[in-house]
């Protein structure tokens, strides 16, 4: 599955911003949430993401993982600047699966979110 942009890179006000539901192909076993944090540099601004998964076409939902971040220049383990944060969770294969999530920002911020499935 090609990376799917679930939130475009626009300025959003602080608060909750929902994305999805997204239909997941049956054979997907790992989800990678990629967040463009190239403009998330202010340490006073904080965001969190919560994912939910449905195994019955969206009738019921279950918490599927989360992450949070305060602002600053992202670097890799060697200290090189990078522009994204990631959250990776295994995903149970099967039919009738949906993914949705909520981004919570403490203040106005420009970022985007892509879902990559493996």
């Amino acid at each position: 599955m090609q990376p799917l942009k679930v939130l475009n890179k626009i300025l959003r006000v602080g608060g909750d911003h929902a994305f999805g539901p997204v239909v997941m192909p049956d054979d997907v076993s790992t989800l990678i949430i990629r967040v463009d944090v190239s403009e998330h540099l202010d340490p006073a601004i904080f965001w969190s993401i919560e994912l939910e998964v449905s195994y019955d076409n969206g009738v019921t939902w279950r918490f599927a993982g989360g992450a949070s971040r305060t602002g600053g220049q992202a670097v890799d383990m060697e200290g090189n600047p990078i522009s994204e944060a990631t959250l990776t969770v295994p995903f149970q294969t099967g039919v009738d699966r949906r993914l949705r999530g909520t981004l919570n920002q403490s203040a106005g911020l420009r970022l985007s979110i892509d879902v990559e499935a493996h």
């Binding site: 990678i32 989360g66 992450a67 990631t86 990776t88 969770v89 295994p90």
Partner: protein, 231 residues
């Protein structure tokens, strides 16, 4: 009831302050073991949404530039949507694998060992001899690289998460087995290419057999002869 791993979850992040696992439904009285990996000096806490108290079972070990430790809480209050969170002091590279164990003793942690290694086969030092024959062994290993990791029977892989998310992620292997024979124990796993890794093993005592029912015996008071009293 035999000691056993009931279920497990794993999550990893890069350039994040915290990660939270997918939810699982847990059961009262069980044990949770969390394998935590993060970069050097960055650990703040491991927590859950059940506000349990967490303690180190394996103190911090290092495979520079990443460190890891194992934490646990015994005798939990189960939850329908139980999640586990690893928090760092700033954004970094957190990875968390949590497993639920049933059938453990009231104070289950027995022996631990940890170390570092290089190459393609990685083995912890031996623990001291375990206290009882019937114990669960829980091992974990990690590295700051893109590599394939594997365990061999009788070890069972509970969770394995390679560096699928790209630069900066850790790779973690979390495994377990139940042993029926005492003695010293270690944890062994392999990586596909020569890597610097850190690894640890902890052993957990199974609950003993149920105590036999208490038998109450009524005390018989001896007859006391009192002189002068006649019937």
């Amino acid at each position: 009831m035999a000691i056993a791993v009931v279920q497990s979850v794993v999550v990893t992040g890069s350039s994040t302050n915290s990660v939270t696992t997918p939810a699982m439904t847990t059961t009262d009285g069980n044990l949770i073991i969390m394998d935590c990996v993060y970069q050097t000096g960055n650990f703040v806490s491991s927590t859950d949404n059940g506000t349990h108290v967490w303690s180190n079972s394996i103190a911090e070990i290092s495979a520079s530039p990443v460190n890891g430790r194992q934490q646990y809480t015994a005798n939990i209050t189960g939850r329908a949507s139980h999640t586990f969170t690893l928090t760092l002091h700033t954004f970094g590279f957190p990875t968390l694998a949590a497993k639920e164990v049933t059938g453990q003793n009231a104070t289950p942690l027995d022996k631990v060992a940890s170390g570092t290694s290089t190459g393609t086969t990685h083995t912890t030092p031996d623990t001291a001899a375990i206290t009882q024959a019937d114990e669960l062994l829980s091992g974990f290993g990690f590295l700051a690289a893109d590599d394939d990791m594997a365990v061999s029977a009788p070890w069972v892989q509970d969770e394995y998460l390679p560096r699928v998310g790209g630069s900066g992620q850790n790779s973690i292997m979390s495994a377990s087995q139940v042993v029926a024979v005492g003695g010293a124990k270690n944890f062994t796993y392999t990586s596909n290419s020569s890597s610097s890794t850190a690894e640890g093993i902890s052993t957990w005592e199974a609950a003993g057999p149920a105590a036999p029912p208490v038998r109450y015996q009524q005390a018989i008071r001896p007859y006391r002869f009192v002189p002068g009293i006649t019937r």
